[in-house]
């Protein structure tokens, strides 16, 4: 399914809603959205993944990149990821560096 991403920035929070499948092609689009945040006073990144059906390591690399690019102060919330995506986050230990929630604000 085609990948789609919508970004809304409110004060210090950037909320991105991801749809479809995140592979090494669509990760380029995701990366571009993250790069736009660099230099802005963003403290919280909220990624709504309820409608994201697939995420490869290319998507994980963008998560790693976002923290390294925007800054270590950045808090990342992942909203309603599907079970198999949670499984990928857990296998790779990335669930320790993000907060998985059912909704945001929590």
């Amino acid at each position: 399914m085609a990948f789609k991403i919508e970004t809304v920035i409110e004060e210090h929070t950037a909320k991105m809603t991801l749809h479809g499948e995140l592979d090494s092609l669509s990760a380029r689009v995701f990366m571009t959205e993250i790069e736009k945040l660099a230099g802005q006073p963003i403290e919280v990144l909220v990624l709504d993944m309820e409608e994201l059906d697939f995420m490869s390591s290319a998507g994980l690399r963008v998560l790693i990149f976002s923290k390294q690019k925007i800054g270590t102060h950045l808090s990342i919330y992942i909203v309603k990821p599907q079970e198999l995506i949670v499984d990928t986050l857990e296998k790779t230990g990335l669930h320790h560096s993000v907060t998985i929630v059912d909704q945001y604000p929590v």
């Binding site: 592979d23 090494s24 092609l25 697939f54 290319a58 790693i64 990342i76 198999l84 499984d87 560096s97």
Partner: protein, 141 residues
């Protein structure tokens, strides 16, 4: 063995995953096993396309060979890039995986997810071609 070719470009990944979905359905794999196989095939195909082909300036197809036996689904990715054994690279270990995002290396996760996602993964170089072999055991009823 069934065989299907895909152009060696990242835009092929979507169709490749659909094809693996279809093979998994034919083999009766469960949802989690299907996702694990799809992720594994996507990761290896990405490496073939980005490093074996694009970076090397090679324009070529890659092939998916498949066979459904009584016990398992076997999927083979065959490409014409220079010999490359994904298993020869060092995998992230427990210490790497417990690092925070800011201390993480960007690479190495793809092959890790490949091995974790399938029942067996192997590599061979045969007749001038790389063959990455993924095996999923069918569910016992």
């Amino acid at each position: 063995m069934e065989s299907k070719s895909f152009p060696g470009v990242v835009a092929s990944l979507d169709g490749l995953r659909d094809y693996v979905d279809e093979l998994s359905r034919q083999a009766g794999l469960a949802k989690k096993a299907t996702y694990g196989l799809k992720l594994a095939v996507d990761e290896i195909a990405t490496n073939i396309i980005l490093y074996g082909y694009e970076k090397a300036g090679l324009v070529a197809d890659f092939r998916v060979l498949s066979e459904i036996t009584e016990q398992e689904l076997i999927v083979i990715l065959e490409d014409e890039a220079a010999a490359f054994d994904p298993l020869a690279n060092q995998m992230p270990d427990a210490s790497d995986l417990s690092k925070s995002l800011e201390d993480r290396e960007i690479g190495g996760l793809g092959i890790f997810l490949t091995i974790k996602g399938v029942d067996n993964f192997s590599y061979e170089y045969f007749n001038g071609k790389n063959r990455n072999v993924f095996v999923m055991k069918k569910q016992q009823s």
